[in-house]
Each structure stands twice: as C-alpha cells, then as structure tokens.
C-alpha cells in the first residue's frame, strides 16, 4: 500500500504558541483517518497543513509523493498537491456569485483546462451522486446547509482528488441535516477514497474510520482502531475526553 500522507516531526507555531508538536503521521491510500480532540487542540490546523493552507515551521511532509517544505522553503509542489487534495470546510465556503453547477465546474476548467462540455457532464454526474441534481441552477444561498455542504463535497470531487480533507464538515449544520452529509461521506469511504476527517461525530468515527487519532494540545496522544480508542483508551486524557463527549 502506498502512503498518501507522510508527516515526520512536524512542528507548527502561531507566533509563540506551539500548536503542533512533533507530529508523526501517515495515511495509507484508501484509509479513512478520523481526528478527534477538544477545540483548540490543533486538529484543524493539522489537516490544513496537509494542503498548505497553513505553513509549518519544521519537520517533513510528503503528500502523494510531493514533498512540501516548511515555511520559507520551496513551495513549488503546493500547486500539484492542491490539485490532488480536496477539502471540505466547516463553513462550506461555496462561491456565492456562481450557481451550484458553476461552483463545481470552475476548478476543472481553470486548473485542468477541462472543456466546458466535459466539466458540465462531470458536474451533473457529481450532483446526482450527492443527491441534489435538481438544484444545479440555483445559487448556494438558496440551498439548505446540508445541501450546500454536499455541493462543497461535489466541488472538491470534481478535481478527482487522491485525498479528501474534511474540516468539521457537520459542525455548522442544523442537527437534522448532519445525517445527509455523513451519508455522502460514508459512501465516499466505501468507494475507497482516502480521507482525513476532523469531526465531533463520534458515531461516524466509530463506524467509518479505519483509524482514530486523538490530539491533545498539539500532540498525538492516542491512535488506533476505533473500537480500541473508543472502548479501551489507554491514555487518561483520551479517557477523560471521551467520557465528556460520549456522555450525552
């Protein structure tokens, strides 16, 4: 199996704040890795480093064979990495001035120079796949939160990524819409997509993850199969975190 993400001794600071401490992490092709942890623990920062939205200060990072240098170093591989890594944000970040379909067509046409007819076909197919083919001509603001997030997933998939990053994709959703987004993600995982997911949805983590990683104050404290991490956590910080989030 090939490694899609390889982090070695990665450190990241926000000013003086040491947010990621010596992170060693690999993600295999086809693997679904769910990252959990309290807010402010650095889990979002971790996945934002993978596609270079956050630069890091030291250590090694390789994404699908492309090495990405720390801050100040050669960032040439960034474009290649971003073409191959899709990202879904907590706040959707759809383009409000474009229709749903144009949101999906933009990147393939601009980045890969895909002809419009082809991009159009891909967009229609992807909208079908995320279950909102009938909303193609609407603008993002006319859609519900759950629908918007599904468009965001389709938009990322249009670039045919080798890896998908999910940064708390359901945290901004009304409770009744969380399910429809998780369903799409579940399907994606089943089809073999490599995924790194930051989430507070412990049920989803338990069911879909191949591996769960618990981060505390910028460090990987616990890592393992979901049943091991959830049912038999070794570290007391993991135990106390889980007892707090699983109680309700």
């Amino acid at each position: 199996m090939s490694q899609i993400v390889k982090m070695q001794g990665m450190n990241k600071y926000f000013g003086k704040l040491h947010v990621l401490k010596d992170i060693d992490l690999t993600v295999e092709a086809g693997e679904v890795v769910v990252i959990i942890g309290a807010s402010g623990s650095g889990k979002s920062t971790l996945i934002r480093c993978v596609n270079g939205l956050e630069p890091f200060e030291s250590g090694k990072l390789e994404v699908d064979g492309h090495p990405l240098a720390p801050k100040g170093g050669n960032q040439k591989s960034l474009t290649e990495i971003r073409k191959e890594v899709g990202m879904v944000f907590q706040q959707f970040n759809l383009f409000p001035h474009l229709t749903v379909k144009k949101n999906i067509m933009l990147a393939p046409m601009k980045v890969k120079k895909t002809p419009q007819v082809v991009a159009n076909g891909t967009a229609e197919r992807l909208l079908q796949r995320v279950g909102i083919a009938d909303q193609a001509k609407k603008y993002p603001s006319q859609l519900s939160g759950g629908q918007q997030q599904r468009v965001a997933i389709a938009r990322a998939l249009a670039m045919e990524p080798r890896l998908m990053l999910f940064d708390e994709p359901t945290s901004a959703l009304d409770p009744e819409m969380i399910g429809e987004v998780l369903d799409v993600m579940r399907e994606l995982a089943k089809e073999g997509m490599t995924m790194m997911v930051v989430t507070h949805e412990m049920g989803f983590a338990r069911e879909v993850a191949d591996r769960v990683i618990y981060i505390h104050e910028g460090q990987v404290v616990e890592e393992g199969k979901p049943e091991d991490v959830f049912d038999n956590p070794q570290n007391e910080r993991t135990q106390s975190f889980l007892s707090r989030v699983l109680k309700h």
Partner: protein, 223 residues
C-alpha cells in the same frame, strides 16, 4: 424704497441653450476622469493591501496625498504649477480630467481595498484548496464578489466627482458653472442662471442615482 424680487422665467429659459453647451464638458471631465480614476483605484487599492511594504507604501502615500488635499488645490497645481515642470502649457480640459482621475482614484482605492477585504478569507482558501493559483482565485472568486459590494460606494464617488467638476470653472474649462458665469456677466441674472445650473446638476446626479437603484434592485450589488 421698496425692493421686490421677481424670478425672471424668461431669463431662466433663455439661458438654457447656452448652459447646455457646458454639459458635454461636465460629463467628459467627470466620466473621463472617473474611468481613469477607476483604473487607478484598482491598481492602488490592490497595492495598498499587498504583502510587500515597498508596494504598499507608495500606494498608501498616493491615497493619503490626494484624499488629504483639496481638489481645488490639486487642479490649480496641475494647471498653473505643472507647466513649469513639463515646460509647456496644459490645456484646461486635460487638467480637469487629470484632477478628477487622481482625486477619485484615491477615494476609489479605498473603496476597492474595503470591498476586497470584506470578502471572507474562506473564499480564498476554497479557491486555493481546489488548485487555483492566487491570481486565478482573486480574479474569478474574490473580485466578482468584491465588485458587487463596491457598486454603491462607487456610485457615491461618481456623484461627488460630477459635482467637483464645478470647481474647474476657475481654470476656464467651459463646463456648466463656467458657462453660467459667462452668461451672467452679460445678463446679470445670477439668481435665475444659478438656479438652472443647479437643476441641471440635479438632473445628472438623479439619473445616476436612478441607474444605481435599478442595478441594486436587480441584485447586482449584493451577494
């Protein structure tokens, strides 16, 4: 002695054809100047938020100088002062257009800066995460949204600049106010003529306001 003032409608109506000759100049200076000012505004507005200080600093200097000095002084400087430097006269029309361009350019820079900065940085992150370059992300994602938000303040600036052209009567451009002054010098009907001049300005600015309202109603100004 009793003094009774009567509005002389005859005089007012008779002045109209002469005053109307000033309108093309007023419009040419305003919109010519604004068109160049818009280009300057985009350039200096974007430079003023550039991460490199050596680009940001000159842009900020330009904005502060032309926002911080009266446009009357600017046009007098261009018309009477600059010829010493360039070694030849500058015609009043060119001076007027240049003054509106440089002055509105400074204000429009601020409009551009505000518009661009008002767009959530998540939009840029989404563009970059899809593999678009910084330039592509800016022009196809950030700018179209920022521009819509810029339309109301740009309309405002257009109205201000149109009225500013009235000051250029001092350098002898045959715009609306200048035409009025010339007419009054012969007829001494100041009240009537300036009344008509004011109405003509109002007609120009109200038409512009109306167009802007229509744009807003069509949803072009909000995202």
């Amino acid at each position: 002695m009793e003094f009774q003032f009567q509005f002389d409608w005859q005089a007012a109506i008779h002045s109209i054809p002469f005053l109307l000759k000033g309108i093309p100049y007023t419009l040419l200076i305003s919109f010519g100047g604004l068109a160049i000012g818009f280009v300057l505004g985009i350039i200096f507005g974007l430079l003023s938020i550039n991460k490199h200080w050596f680009l940001r600093w000159p842009a900020t200097a330009y904005i502060e100088v032309f926002r911080g000095t009266p446009i009357l002084v600017q046009v007098l400087f261009i018309f009477y002062g600059l010829p010493d430097l360039v070694g030849g006269p500058i015609d009043p029309l060119t001076a007027g257009i240049a003054a509106i361009a440089l002055n509105s350019g400074a204000y429009i820079s601020e409009v551009v800066r505000g518009g661009v900065q008002s767009i959530d940085k998540g939009q840029t992150e989404a563009g970059l995460s899809l593999g678009l370059s910084r330039t592509q992300t800016f022009w196809s994602i950030v700018w179209p949204q920022a521009f819509r938000r810029m339309i109301p303040p740009l309309g405002n600036q257009a109205i201000v600049s149109i009225k500013d052209t009235s000051l250029f009567s001092v350098i002898g451009v045959g715009e609306l106010v200048r035409q009025g002054q010339v007419y009054i010098a012969n007829t001494f009907t100041a009240f009537e003529v300036y009344f008509v001049v004011a109405i003509l300005y109002l007609m120009i600015t109200l038409s512009l306001s109306l167009i802007l309202r229509l744009l807003e109603r069509r949803g072009l100004t909000s995202v």
